[in-house]
Amino acid sequence: MIRFENASVTYPGGVHALKDVTLDIRDGEMLIIVGLSGAGKSTLIRVINGLVPLSGGDVKIDGVSVRHAGSRQLREIRSKIGMIFQTFNLVKRTTVLNNVLMGRLYGAGTLRSLFAWYRPEDIEIAMQALERVDIVEKAYVRASNLSGGQQQRVGIARALAQQPKIILADEPVASLDPPTSHVVMRDLQRINRELGITTIVNLHFLDLAKVYGERIIGMRGGELVYDGTAAQADERVFRDIYGRSLTADDVMSEAATAAATL
C-alpha cells in the first residue's frame, strides 16, 4: 500500500511540481497517470522511490516513510520497487544479462557485484525475468544491438529481476511505435495480473490509458484533478485534465489500438 500524505515537491528553481497530493494506491493495482507535459507525472512517480526528495508531506510504503528514510533504508525501499524509463536507460555497451543483473545489485551486495561474482540464484532470477518478457535468447547480446522495443523489454526484465512489489513506469512507450507500444503495455498488464505487482504507469496517450488502466489519475499543474475508473473517464474528463479539447496528438493511431484490443 502506497500512501501519499499531502506530498509536495518544490524544485530548486522554485517550480511547485507537486502540490499537496493525497492518494492511496492499493496493492496489486494497475494505475495509470495522465496529464499534460509538465503536469508533474514524473515527479509523482519519482517521489515514491525517493529519486526526487519531498519538500513537504510524506509518502509511506506499507507504513514506512520515504521522506525520513536514511540512505541505507532508502536503498532497501528502492530494492523492492522496479523502475522502467522512457529512454530505457540501459548500459548500451554491455550485455543484456549484465543489464538485467543491475536489478540484483541490492540483493547481491557490494563486494559480489563489484567483481561480478553473482550467485547462481541471482543469475537464475535474471534469466527468468528475461524469459518472462520473451527475450532470453538475447541474454549475451550487447544491449546496443537491440531494437527499441526489445530494449524496453530488457528494461522490464531489469525491474523484474528485483522481484519487486511495485513497478514504476515513466512513459514506457513514448519512444516506441504504436504496435510495439501495445506489446510492451500488454507485458506490463500481464505482469501486474500474474504476479500481483502494483504497477504505476505514466502515459501520454489517452487511448492507451483507457485500454490498460484499471484506475486512471489525472494531473494538472502538480495537483490531482481526476481519480476514477477507466470506464468513467470519457472525453469530457480528459478535456478537464488537459484544459483544452483533444487533438490527434493525444491518441495513438486508431487502427493500431483497434488491432491490439481485438
Binding site: 534469466m127 524469459e131 520473451d134 532470453v136 535468447e137 541474454a139 549475451y140
Partner: protein, 293 residues
C-alpha cells in the same frame, strides 16, 4: 511460464582470455625482473614521509629562498614561452605542407613522419643531445629544445586542423579561379586560427612543466635550483622551490585555460569538438575508433 526460446550458452571468451593472460604474464615478468628489492618497497612510505616532512612541515620551507626560486621560475616561464613561440611559428608552414589537402599525399606523409620523429624525443633529451652541444649551457638551449619538440606536436595538430577545414568556400574560390590551393588555404587560415591558438596555449601549459626541469641538465630555469637543493639535502630550500613550481604552474594553467575557453567559445569551435580543445592530447589518443560519449 518459461518462454519457448532456449537459454543461450554463455559465450566463451577464449581469445580475450588468452590476450589477458599474455598481458598478465608480461606485467608479472616486468615486476619480478625489474631491479627492485621488496625491502626497498617496504622502506618507501617511510622515506617519502620523511622527505615530505622535511620539505613542507618540519623544518618546512625556507622563505628566504623565495626570491631565488621565483627568479628561477620566471626564467622557466620565459624559456617555455620562447620555446612555444618558436614552435608555433615553425609549425605553421610544416602544418600546411603536412596537410593532405594542401600538399600531395607523398610530401605530406614524409612531413608527418618527420613530425612524429621529433615528437618521439623528450625535451630533456633534445637539450642534452642537440641543443646544449650547439648553444652551450643555459636557457637558450632549453628554449630551443622546447621549440623543437613543440614543432612536432603543434605541426601535427595544425595539419589536422587544416585538413578539417570545410571544403565549401575553398571549392567555390577555386571555381572562381583564385590561385593555387596553397594560397586559398592560406586565405582560410583565419577560420581555424582560434583553434590553433588554443593549441599553442595548451602547449605552453605543457612546456612550463618541461621548462621547470630542464635546469636539471643545465638548460636554464628553476630546475637547476631543484636539482642542487635536493641533491645537497637542503630540503627546506627544495620545499620552497617545489611550492613555487606548483603554485605558478597551477596559476598559469588556470589563466591559460580560461583564455583558451574564451577563444574557442568566441570562435564557435569549427571542427574539433570542445573536448579535444580542452585536451588536445586527446587528439593524439583518439587516432583509433574510440567513441566519445
Amino acid at each position: 511460464m518459461a518462454g519457448a526460446a532456449e537459454r543461450p550458452h554463455p559465450p566463451t571468451h577464449a581469445k580475450r582470455n588468452l590476450a589477458l593472460l599474455g598481458a598478465a604474464l608480461l606485467v608479472g615478468w616486468a615486476a619480478v625482473t625489474v631491479d627492485v628489492d621488496p625491502s626497498e618497497i617496504l622502506d618507501l612510505p617511510g622515506g617519502v614521509a620523511l622527505l615530505f616532512r622535511e620539505m613542507f612541515l618540519d623544518p618546512g620551507p625556507d622563505w628566504s629562498y623565495l626570491p631565488t626560486a621565483l627568479e628561477g621560475m620566471i626564467e622557466s616561464l620565459q624559456l617555455a614561452w620562447v620555446g612555444t613561440v618558436l614552435g608555433a611559428i615553425l609549425s605553421i608552414p610544416l602544418g600546411f605542407v603536412g596537410a593532405k589537402n594542401v600538399s600531395s599525399g607523398g610530401v605530406s606523409n614524409v612531413v608527418r613522419q618527420l613530425l612524429n620523429a621529433i615528437r618521439a624525443f623528450p625535451e630533456v633529451v633534445l637539450a642534452v643531445a642537440i641543443m646544449i652541444p650547439i648553444a652551450g649551457l643555459g636557457p637558450v638551449a632549453g628554449a630551443l629544445a622546447i621549440g623543437l619538440h613543440s614543432i612536432g606536436t603543434l605541426g601535427k595538430l595544425t595539419a589536422e586542423v587544416i585538413e578539417g577545414i570545410d571544403p565549401g568556400p575553398v571549392e567555390a574560390a577555386r571555381a572562381a579561379g583564385g590561385g593555387s590551393i596553397l594560397v586559398q588555404r592560406w586565405g582560410v587560415l583565419p577560420q581555424v586560427l582560434p583553434e590553433i591558438v588554443a593549441f599553442w596555449l595548451y602547449r605552453f601549459e605543457i612546456n612550463i612543466r618541461a621548462a621547470a626541469v630542464l635546469g636539471v641538465v643545465g638548460a636554464g630555469g628553476i630546475g637547476f635550483s631543484l636539482q642542487q637543493t635536493i641533491s645537497f639535502h637542503r630540503y627546506s630550500l627544495a620545499g620552497t622551490a617545489v611550492i613555487v613550481v606548483v603554485l605558478v604552474t597551477i596559476a598559469v594553467d588556470t589563466v591559460s585555460g580560461w583564455v583558451r575557453r574564451r577563444i574557442i567559445e568566441g570562435a564557435g569551435a569549427k571542427r574539433v569538438d570542445a573536448d579535444a580543445i580542452a585536451h588536445p592530447e586527446l587528439a593524439e589518443v583518439v587516432t583509433g575508433p574510440v567513441e566519445r560519449p
